[in-house]
Each structure stands twice: as C-alpha cells, then as structure tokens.
Amino acid sequence: MLEIPVLRWGKPYESFDQQEVVHFETGEPLAKVHQANAGLVKMDMRKAQRARDLLREIPISKLLEICKKAADLYMTAELPLGNGTQTPEEFCRIQSASTGMPEWMCAGNMKKVAFVLENMESILDALTRGLPLDILTKGYGKEERGVMMSYQAHSPVLGLVLPSNSPGVHTLWMPILPMQIGLVLKPGSSEPWTPYRMTEAFCQAGIPRECISVYPGPHDVGSTVTELCGRVMLFGGQQTIDKYKGNPNVQAHGPGFSKILIGDDVVDQWEDHLDLLVDSIYQNGGRSCINASGVWASRHTEAIADAIAKRIGPVGPTSMTDPEAPLAAFTMTGAAKAMNGQIEEGLKESGVTEVTAKYRDGERLIELERCDYLRPTIVHCANTDATLANTEYMFPMASVVQCEQKDMLKKIGPTLVCTAITKDEAWSQQLLDATQIDRLNIGPIKTNALNWLQPHEGNIVEFLFRARAFQNESPAAH
C-alpha cells in the first residue's frame, strides 16, 4: 500500500500517527498518510523565511518557466508519491475513489490546474495590473510610466487548509510560488493527492524542496497552520467563513451563493438562456462555489423552474468510471442525509415547491452502504423570504426565485458570482455598484465560466502583498 510521509520543508518525515485513506465505495485502504502533530508545524514555521529567501534567488521569469514545466509533469509524468509512484491515470482513479468525484471530473480538474500553470505569466500580469514582476522580488521599482512602486510581502509563506472533496479549488494556490512565497499545505483528509502531486511536479521542475511543506494531520494541525502563517487561505462551510470574517490574515473560501439574475428586459426570452441556466447549476456535479444556486426573475419563474427540472430532474448516479457520470458521491457519513433533511424542512414553508420531484423516478436521497447521492433538485420559491431561496448545497440544486427586479439587489445577499442577463444600462450600473457581489458577469455568461485573467474571490496579489510608499531619493519640491 502507498505510504505517504509528512513533508517538512521538503524532507519526508515518517510519523507514528497514520491515517488510512479508503475507497469510498468498498472501504478498501488506498494509502496510509502520515500525520503531523501541531508541534512539528510550530517548530518548522520558525524557518518559514528561508522558503521565501530561496524563492527570491530564482528570478520570477525563471519561476514562470518552472510553472510551465510543472504543468507538463503534473499532466503527463509518472511522479513519485511516498513509497510508490503515480501516473496521471492512477491519480484520477485514486482521487475519484477517495473523494467521490467521477474520474472524468478529476481529469477535468487536472486540466484546469495545468491551464493556470501554463498561463501563469498572463495571469500574474493581469492580477498585478501589469506590474513589472521584479518589483515583487526587490520590494520596489519603477513602472514603465516612471512611478516608483513598492510591494511588501505580508508573509514569507501562504498557509493553505485545503478541502477534502473539491479538487478544482487547487487552482487558487498555483500563483503563489511564482510570486516567491513559500507554501505550507494542510491537505484535506480525503484529498492529499493534488497537494502531493503538485509538490512533486513543482520540485522536479526546479522549485527548491525547502520551499514547500505538506502537513496532513488532525484538526489542530490546520488550526496551527492558520495561527502561525501570516497569510492563510482556507476552505470550509459557512460557519468557518463566519469565524474568520474580519480577519485580514485569512482568506476563507466557502459557499458561493452564486446566482443568475434575469432582467425584466430579457425575461420574456428566458428560453434562449436555458442551456446557460442548466450548465451553471449542473456542471462539475454542482459541487463548486461558482455553480449557480439561485435563478432570480420577476416573472415566468414557474416555467423556468420547470424547464430546468425537466432537463436535470431525471439524472441519477452512474459509475465513477462513466465518462459522462453526472453526480459526485457524498462520502462523509450522514452528510447527504442531513442536507436532504434540511431541504425537506425548507419545502414545508409557504410558497416553496420542489419541481424536480415529478421528473425523478424515486427519492432525492440515495443511501448506499458506504456513500450517498443527492439527485438534482430544483425548487421554486414564490417569495424571497423562503429559507431555500438563498441556500447552497454541494450537488446540482438551485432555487428559482420570484422577485421584482428593483428588489433583487436588496435581497440576494452575499454572492460570489452573479450573472445578470440584461441590457438595461441603469440596472447594470446598480449591479456594478453592488458590493455584495464579488465576480460580476453582465450578459449571458455561465457563472462557472472562469476567466483566469480576473481575480477569483479577492485578488491573491493584494492578499499577499501590501502596496506602500517607498522613496530612495528626495521628492521634487512642490
């Protein structure tokens, strides 16, 4: 069996504490992952500056080349993993077996990671707004227009407390190393695969091993990473997000509550956008924070809900190896059942109707011996006060909400991605001014259509670096 050690600034460490990662369907052990303890992390964090120092010895232009090479290795090479090796196919197979994501979705997520790495130069150029990148290395320098700029790293390393079940989010930390910031990764218990494979790909491509630590471990390892790294990106539920609200050191990623708003000017032609609505809700198993969980319109909402439900209501689980498997499994005991219970409670409220039920043969919740599935669910909410009007679950589920256009921005709440299908310029301006919306699409664009030249949930450059004043000569008299 695969045995995967802790990596302490690149050095493998075999712990007495190990945790088995098992196949979610069969219970078959897939790997033994050595577990760090909080003390190890505390001890190692005392040397965090060394990671940044080493990375700063490599020009960013060279790091961008390393990213391209790492992308290729990640996608194509048989890479070492603990006491064994892993081909890309084995990677997809084992990731699917532990997370419940169909294999084709795992392969799709690999492509996303590779795309980000291959295009890192453009991405950094966009995210830094064209800043000469050596300013990040040196700390100061002049832009082309002759203005002195200075950027100071908030932390020599970025800590990441990663999720167990969403391999796609790993794209978010790919730009860290080329910005010469070290990585401290705490993998999710069921998804150690991406952190380890990426680490190996980066290191074989030329990143010094001393720049990356990987600490699988229990909860207190994650909290120690969060406590000791000057900047941390973490993933969790709404409770986690609320816990870190207002903490400038932590960028917490959780539910997106992403939505599609259909303007009054186009709502009578809603059928033209049905594919967009379905794809936004349904692609990637509905598991992403950028999947739409709400469709808001002032009229035709019952017909819209019915049309979406007709398309995705009949869908059920298939084999993980099915190249078109539409749904991911819930591998954590009781999670799907709890969500199903919450949905059933929500359906008891006035004006709330499930539309998918009539297109589905059987129950929403499918309980198997070692995993569960939730089948696609579309709910119609006749008012915005219904609990289900603004919820999000990790499967294809959305509420179609009837709401006057003038009230939408007052009612939608925090929204990671908002697609507003409209040509109404006045409303577009209000949407642009709406601070509760993070990523805004105006026009028929899927919520899950990402442009990597745009920031995602906050600009990672702004999170890691502080723009500040710097002078190395007296300013002109004025």
């Binding site: 909080a38 190890l40 005392r46």
Partner: protein, 367 residues
C-alpha cells in the same frame, strides 16, 4: 537490557499482595465502625455481603459498576470513612466544564501517591533539593498541592503558575481563539518570569501543550528548556501520544532533558510511564500504583472481561485506599493491555486516548 528472569514470580507475589490489600480495604470500607456513610448505605442494595463474599481482587466484579456521577454534589462528607472523621480534609474537583463538578474528599492520599511516585524518579534528572516549577491547572484540582508536596518531599520548593482549563474550554466553545492565545501567552509569560528569576529551578511538572508553548517561547528568545536549567520534566494531565513523546524528545527538549509521561486523575493518583527504551519506539505504557489503584483494560461490551495482551479495550479503574474505595469505574479512555514490567510487575496500558464513542463530544487537551 532488563532482567526478566524473575518477572513471573514477582507478578505472582504482587497478585497475592493485591488480593490481601483488597480483603483489607473491603473490610475497612464496609465495617460499620470504619466505613463511609456512602458505602455502608450502598451495601444495603447489594445481593452479596462485601464483608464475607469479597476475598480477592477478582471478587470486586461482584460490585456494580461505579458511576462517576455519584461524585457530583454534596454532602461530600458522606464519602469520608468514619474512622477518619475529624482529620483535616481537602476536596478536589475534576471536570466541571458543564454542570456540577465531580468531587473527591482527600486527607493524605495525594501525599502518599506522590511520595510513591517520587521513588520512581531518577535522582540525576530530578536532583534532590532542586526547586520545581508547577505549570498547570491548580484551583480546585489536586495537582498544585500534589506537585508542591512532591517538591517538598524531595527537599525542594515548588513555584506555581496557574491555568484555568474551564475558562479555556469556554473560550474555545465560543470560538474566541485569539483570547485563548492571549491567555496561553499570559501563562507562559509567568513561567518565563519565574524561570528567569534565579530560583534555581531544575524540575518541572507541566502538560504537553504548555511544555510545547514554553519550549517554543524559550527558542524564540534564543534559549531552550535545557539552557533554562531544567533537567527533568514529569508531564501529563492531557493526552500524551507516542508521536508527541517522540517529538518532545527529538526536537523540543534535546537529549539532556529527561521527560516522563504520566497518567493520572483525582480518583487514581498517578500511573507511571514504563522507563524509556529505544526498542519501544516511544510507545507509552502506563502502570497504575498497585495495589492502591489498579488499571484493567476491559472488553468494550463486557467490563468484567479483561482483554488479551496487546488487545484494545476500555480503561477500568479500581481505587483502594483507606480514604477511597472505587470497585471498578470505566474511565473516559481506551488503550491496549500491556504485559507486566520488571519495575511494575502487573498489567499496564498503552496508547491511552479518549474512548472512541465519547471522543467526538469532548473538548480534550485544552491545556
């Protein structure tokens, strides 16, 4: 290498001593002249007579399982054996994060327990006459007085820094992690002040988490536990894992600082760790202070059945001193049953960790 040639004989002798100790203490606790009101009253509900039907340790299985909820609330003097009434009495509490804490009345037991424990400490690491730092929970717990007595018994003086675990649990439950950190820093500040004040402290009691925090603070200031003058640490109070033990010896302390894990509670006294042996791979095995207290590793479904050596079960505790009689109580821990050791020729327990069925609902290791 340990000489185990007469281990079997020692085990046999200790079993006989335990049986004799059991008979003596059952006679004491159930004699109307000497026993405690609690046990004399309780005996009326038994379908056997402890005075005639308990003749060896195994006979303790005739008693119903002791429920620790019995220890909540007063009057606490119902626990004091009649023969000991009028002596200066302490009450020590355990838990107490929610509701009424469990209480135990004590007269001399904590001193006797720690004097016995003292005999297991190597003098080169815990020099006689050296001063101590007690860095851990005091308040209504027995630890402060016990460690203080240990220091005095060995000819030293104990300096104490308090930590209130009940407050820490409240902060954690409210998600006030910054305040937990501040409080922890406040505790370590006090330890640093005492260590830096020229008190010639060479020995210490603390918990794993506090030791970690103190060692890291010393490192941050360019020093270490060893450079602060500490030679020996006895460490316990919260979960102490094999991995942490290795980390402490290999990275936190260095080879010149002795650390011994202990496992104890208000009811038992102090179980000692099996002496460190590299061949054990840092495995931690505890031995109860027999015959005053006995640990058995029992089947999860049948607490009267001891599991086989190396097998996993729930920790069951028996206490038999003149002050307290507990004829079998299921601890909130599980572990593996271990073979006797030449220094402790009776059953041990290793891998002690929170009992898997209640672990998820418990806030452990807060200090």
């Amino acid at each position: 290498m340990t000489d185990n040639s007469n281990l079997d004989e020692l085990v046999k002798q200790n079993q006989e001593a335990l049986d004799a100790h059991t008979r003596e203490h059952v006679q004491w606790h159930f004699n109307p002249e000497t026993g405690s009101p609690y046990w004399l009253e309780k005996a009326k509900s038994f379908d056997f007579d402890p005075l005639t039907d308990v003749n060896c340790f195994e006979d303790l299985n005739k008693f119903p399982l002791f429920e620790d909820d019995e220890l909540r609330g007063g009057p606490v003097d119902r626990w004091i054996p009649k023969a000991l009434r009028g002596k200066p009495t302490y009450v020590f509490e355990t838990g107490g994060t929610t509701g009424i804490p469990k209480s135990r009345v004590v007269i001399d037991d904590f001193r006797i327990d720690y004097e016995n424990f003292s005999d297991t400490l190597p003098d080169e690491s815990f020099p006689k006459g050296a001063n101590w730092l007690m860095l851990g929970p005091s308040g209504p717990r027995r630890l402060r007085l016990a460690v203080e007595h240990l220091a005095q018994y060995r000819g030293g003086i104990s300096f104490c820094v308090d930590l209130d675990p009940r407050w820490v649990v409240k902060l954690i439950k409210k998600g006030k992690i910054d305040e937990v950190k501040e409080y922890s820093a406040h505790v370590i500040d006090q330890a640093m002040a005492i260590l830096g004040a020229g008190h010639e402290i060479k020995c210490m009691f603390t918990t794993p988490k506090l030791l970690e925090a103190l060692a890291m603070r010393l490192m941050d200031e360019g020093s270490s536990i060893e450079e602060a003058g500490i030679k020996g640490i006895f460490c316990g109070g919260t979960e102490f894992t094999q991995q942490w033990y290795r980390f402490a010896r290999e990275e936190l302390l260095g080879e010149n600082v002795y650390i011994t894990p202990t496992y104890g509670n208000t009811l038992m006294g102090l179980a000692c760790g099996r002496p460190f042996d590299p061949a054990d791979n840092y495995k931690i095995t505890y031995y109860a202070p027999q015959p005053r207290a006995v640990i058995r590793v029992v089947d999860f479904d049948d607490h009267t059945k001891v599991v086989g050596y190396g097998e996993t079960g729930r920790v069951k505790l028996f206490t038999m001193t003149k002050e307290l009689f507990i004829p079998g109580f299921l601890e909130r821990d599980e572990g593996e049953r271990e073979v006797p050791h030449i220094k402790y020729p009776w059953d041990g327990v290793s891998g002690v960790r929170p009992f898997h069925e209640i672990a998820a609902s418990t806030t452990v290791g807060v200090y």
